[in-house]
């Protein structure tokens, strides 16, 4: 199933109403060439299932891990990804851009 931005937040609500713990990650800023525009969402549940995309695949794994922390702790987090740091081998954007991602829990 292709999930467009149009229904991804509807899915987030559906998950939350099913009693699943849910976090929403949103691209809030981009610099240079970034694969997904500002406003793109990734929705994550407490089991690590996710829908949507914030980077076309490059850093989704890292965002999911952080989202599980946010679900556990409750407080939102601002994440930043780019190729300019030494962790780029682990979670970086191969296109050379930088993105900031806001992760918050649905409660």
């Amino acid at each position: 199933m292709i999930v467009t931005e149009d229904n991804i937040l509807a899915e987030a609500e559906r998950w939350a109403r099913e009693g699943r713990k849910v976090a929403i990650a949103t691209v809030v800023e981009t610099w240079g060439s970034a694969p997904r525009p500002v406003g793109s969402h990734l929705v994550i549940d407490g089991e690590g299932n996710f829908l949507g995309s914030v980077s076309g695949g490059c850093v989704e794994g890292a965002v999911v891990t952080e989202a599980l922390d946010v679900i556990a702790a409750g407080a939102p987090k601002m994440l930043e990804f780019g190729v300019a740091d030494e962790t780029a081998w682990r979670a970086g954007l191969s296109c050379g851009g930088r993105i900031r991602v806001y992760v918050e829990k649905v409660d």
Partner: protein, 240 residues
């Protein structure tokens, strides 16, 4: 994000109305704004009111700053829609392609031999006259209209409604000759040149399309370029 806020956002979306979530980046506190509330207080005199108006106009999410701090505006625009007259060969290709591209597709054709569920599985298909369907759907500024029947009796009825609407894209199939005759009919019906110029004809980007599926690609690409015109213009202005 509060579940009640997420619910309010999704309700606005389902009702085809735009809304914005305003997140205070420093604290995570959130406010919710429906588009029709922007002209009312307290929003009209909010320090962010201009940024909020811009966000509604462009449909673009983004950061906004005031002396009081930094906010992220998550813009929720209604799903884009494509309303097509003509359950024809091109429509059979266009409907699934447009759906993948994120459009909610409706196909209207009073000729029931064309508008059959066997030819259009999984499509919102209306075997009725356009003026019986379009007013209830409502062509808003998140809607594209595509006329494909080749039959003026059907297409003209729909074009009349489309030209009086806020649809962001209006395209009509037909050769230059066919379109010239269409223009004469629309003029006789009282439309001025500016209104008629909204119609993209010959329809579709010029990619040398030959088959019905290729023509569908060119129409979909043209509709997307109309949808993203403002974004492209902003980018061009930035580069200049």
């Amino acid at each position: 994000m509060k579940l009640s806020l997420l619910n309010a956002l999704n309700d606005e979306r389902a009702a085809r109305r735009a809304a914005i979530i305003i997140t205070d980046v420093a604290t995570g506190a959130q406010r919710f704004l429906r588009e029709q509330e922007l002209v009312q207080e307290p929003w009209a005199s909010d320090p962010l009111s201009q940024a909020l108006a811009d966000a509604f106009r462009t449909g673009k999410s983004g950061m906004a700053e005031t002396p009081a701090g930094q906010w992220f505006l998550t813009v929720s625009a209604p799903p884009v829609r494509m309303i097509v007259t003509g359950a024809v060969h091109i429509s059979q290709a266009l409907a699934p392609m447009a759906a993948i591209a994120g459009f909610d597709v409706t196909i209207i054709d009073p000729r029931t031999a064309f508008a059959s569920p066997e030819r259009f599985p999984d499509v919102d298909l209306r075997p009725e006259w356009p003026d019986a369907v379009i007013p209830s759907l409502g062509l808003d500024r998140y809607s594209a209209f595509v006329a494909l029947t080749h039959d003026p009796k059907i297409d003209d009825v729909a074009l009349d409604l489309a030209l009086k609407s806020d649809a962001f894209y209006i395209g009509a199939l037909g050769s230059r000759k066919t379109h010239a005759r269409r223009v004469e009919r629309l003029r006789a019906a009282g439309f001025d040149d500016a209104a008629i110029a909204r119609i993209r004809a010959p329809i579709g980007l010029n990619i040398g399309a030959v088959s019905p599926a290729e023509i569908a690609v060119s129409i979909l690409a043209e509709a997307v370029s109309a949808l993203r015109a403002e974004r492209m213009a902003q980018r061009a202005a930035k580069a200049a």
